[in-house]
Amino acid sequence: MRQGKKWVALALVSALAMAACGSDDKDGSDTTSASGGTTGGQAGGTLVFGTSSDPVVLDGAYVSDGESLRVIDQLFETLVTTVPGGTEIEPSLAKSWSASDDGTVWTFDLQTGVKFHDDTDFNAAAVCFNFDRWYNFTGVAQSAAVSYYWSTVFGGFSDGATPSLYKSCEAKDDATAIISLTAPSAAFLSGLAVSAFVIASPDALTKYEADKVGGTDDAPTFDGTFGTEHPVGTGPFKFDGWTPGDKLTIVRNDGYWGTKAILDKVIFKPIADGPARRTALETGEIQGYDLVDPADVTALADGGYQILKRPAFNVGYVGFNQAKPPLDNQKIRQAIAYALNRQALVTAKYPEGAEVATQFQPPSLFGWSADVPDYSYDPEKAKALIAESGVTDLTIEFYYPSDVSRPYMPDPTANFEAFKADLEAVGFTVVPKTAPWRSGYLDDVDAGNAQVYLLGWTGDYGDPDNFVGTFFRTPQVAWGFDNQEIFDALTAARDTADVAERTKLYEEANKMIMEFVPGVPYVHTEPSLAFAPGITGYTPSPVSLESFATVSLG
């Protein structure tokens, strides 16, 4: 075995030697770009960005998960988009637009001279092709797992099973698209900025069978290659290749109609484990990643890394199911609101910039009211209210998810423990209940099994209906109440056209909601991204609509 040992030793030594020699190409940026067409003088370079998982598919109409949208936002564009870093609407593929007097016919003047990545022309016909494609979805494509945003903004499809806001699209000429709605809508325009409504090349959609659903009725398979191999859009980047589990590559689109991207290439590397992402940033294997854990923010900043924060556009809350006593008693709900020391939790567990929430929508969104009832921490008041309520059995089941990290709730267990202690301090008996997020927790909450639970929401577009409307405009099992006054107030607020009027109505509604206390909102957070020193040009957006086109390696 002596020879065996010698061989092992030799192998070890050579391994170490190679490691030592090879360690200088730690820096992930490859300045010798493979693509030849670099316009003279550009900084170029490659950026590697760490993501939490692979995208599902690169077809805007088919997805609602953050990772798919992240890539889609680089390859495709919508008619209108949000201003960088905000939620107001600005032109994108549509230069300008106007609405008819009754608000049902919208005319869009489109940009000219724009080409898709496959060199076909972008025009009104392409726009209508896309809208009609979505409107005509059938079968599994209609389910919320596939076309969530269409149903949220427009409602139904061409089969008429549910009423739809969409009526038709007309291509008056190459540069004018007219979209007709079945009813006036104030949220329609903001809705169009959502990445689900990106305009894709009709040629590619057809050629690569984007809508082909095979398999059997009860085991549908998506057989087209549009969303996995040929996602052709108009955006500042083009698709270059995708190996699931390994990486997804996009390269600069030199034929882009607007300001061209600075980087040559962006590589998205999926790393499921949070601490592994951070380590990868620190070793230089990636140059940026999203959703930095609060524990890491200070350490990374001290280490010279850049922490970029998204303006708060979410809410974390403790939900109540009023179908389960004693939560049907308003005094008990108020008592819980006073009992929870929300500020202490935010200070202890959330990074700087997070603030205590007073209502179910963030302050930056119109309709936020400064006059909602104040439930600042007051355990004595809580105890008094409990006594007044006359409820003797103070046992409650408190649900929290065991294994997830959400932007508004990075560490659910910590939140749970703090709140549990607060509740026990005023006399409640808390029974802990938990399940993994995707394996039972959400089901329990939706089915109405959870009495008191931790949950939250990140906004998709800049309209209060997307927050308080989603929660309280219709009766829901998870909240377990039937308050017609609130339902009506929110429906009226959504359907009004005048912005000033809507603002007032939503402010009133928020006051009403907080008096009713259907739950206790406790935090709005600023989720953050981390980048290596020197990287510039990334603008965080509250709705996560962020472009890599302006990013440079410094």
Partner: protein, 334 residues
């Protein structure tokens, strides 16, 4: 011999059928489903029902099972609900990654384990032996995920010797022919890629290989000790044969049998998806795929993946048994 192999392979079929049935029912009995996984916070009972209807998950379980069997008979194993990719294709594509990792771990485990065990056995009751015993037991006493973090911290962060994620540096391009990066880089005559692949294999290989290392060292030590105490060894030495020759010709050969067995068993276990290691090192293999699928309730992937691994495990065991019988004619196989 041939009959033995055939019989074992035939036994595979009822096992797979039984396993697939159990899995099918089992996974659907668990709370949560792909609908909830896909919709997240946006899930509402109506939406969940809609998705379940679209995919046929609301039909009676037995009915679903027979339809599933029908598809399997036509060799249609379905498409991943979350990844929208063909299950078999995805499993086969990722398998080489797991194999490479398992191989690296075994190289580490065997390369260090056998010499260590041998040295310990030779110097029984010395401090070398004690250290080896303690070390090998320590190896199985550390939680793998903890070890992985420590390794990363020391060797990647502080010393900067090795990378921590993936199989290749993300900016490196390599033509995927076999999907075994070690082979593909040779085919492409890309020395840099080969070195890069090896560097990426080091830390995960050590993390994954520590437990097999400990077990192999222990078995080697025990096996060698047993042989050393055999009369024929003492006889050979008494007759004047040099230690080295005795070691090589008699001790090692006879001690090898159980060692080979353990190596085989451990390989089988490793190939069954090193879930934690693959997750912590963002390794694009079967373990990563399967753990994600279990959490996402991706039924087709879970069903296909677990069956795939069961087959691999049984096949590896079969090979080990056959090898064993071939090496030692005293062991008859029924």
């Amino acid at each position: 011999m041939f009959k033995f192999i055939v019989r074992r392979l035939l036994l595979l079929i009822p096992i797979l059928l039984g396993l697939s049935f159990l899995l099918f029912i089992w996974v659907r009995a668990l709370p949560g489903g792909p609908a909830t996984a896909l919709l997240g916070e946006r899930a509402t009972p109506e939406r969940v029902a809609q998705v379940n209807a679209a995919y046929g998950f609301d039909k009676p379980v037995l009915e679903q099972y027979f339809k599933y069997l029908g598809r399997v008979a036509r060799f249609e194993f379905g498409q991943s609900i979350t990844l929208r990719k063909d299950v078999t294709e995805e499993l086969l594509r990722r398998f080489p990654a797991t194999v490479e990792l398992a191989a690296a771990a075994m190289v580490f485990a065997v390369g260090l384990g056998i010499p260590l065990g041998f040295a310990a056995a030779k110097r029984e009751r010395s401090w070398v032996d004690s250290t080896a015993v303690v070390a090998s037991l320590a190896g199985v006493s550390i939680p793998v995920f903890f070890l992985a973090q420590i390794l990363k911290w020391i060797f990647a962060l502080k010393l900067n010797w090795f990378p921590t994620i993936g199989r290749l540096q993300p900016t490196r391009e390599l033509e995927h022919v076999t999907n075994f990066n070690l082979i593909d880089s040779v085919i492409a005559l890309d020395g840099g890629a080969w070195v890069d692949t090896v560097k990426h294999l080091v830390l995960p290989g050590i993390a994954l290989g520590t437990i097999p290392l400990a077990i192999i060292a222990r078995i080697t030590r025990a096996s060698v000790l047993e042989v050393l105490n055999e009369d024929y060894v003492r006889t050979a030495r008494a007759k004047g044969m040099s230690r080295r020759i005795v070691d090589r010709r008699h001790v090692l050969r006879n001690a090898l049998l159980p060692i080979v067995t353990v190596v085989g068993l451990q390989t089988g276990l490793l190939l069954s998806g090193a879930v934690l290691t693959e997750t912590v090192f963002a390794w694009g293999g079967i373990g990563q795929l399967l753990s994600g699928a279990v959490l996402d309730k991706d039924y087709p992937v879970i069903q296909g993946g677990v069956l795939f691994l069961a087959v691999v495990f049984v096949l590896v065991n079969l090979i080990v048994d056959v090898l064993y019988a071939v090496i030692d004619p005293r062991i008859r196989v029924r």
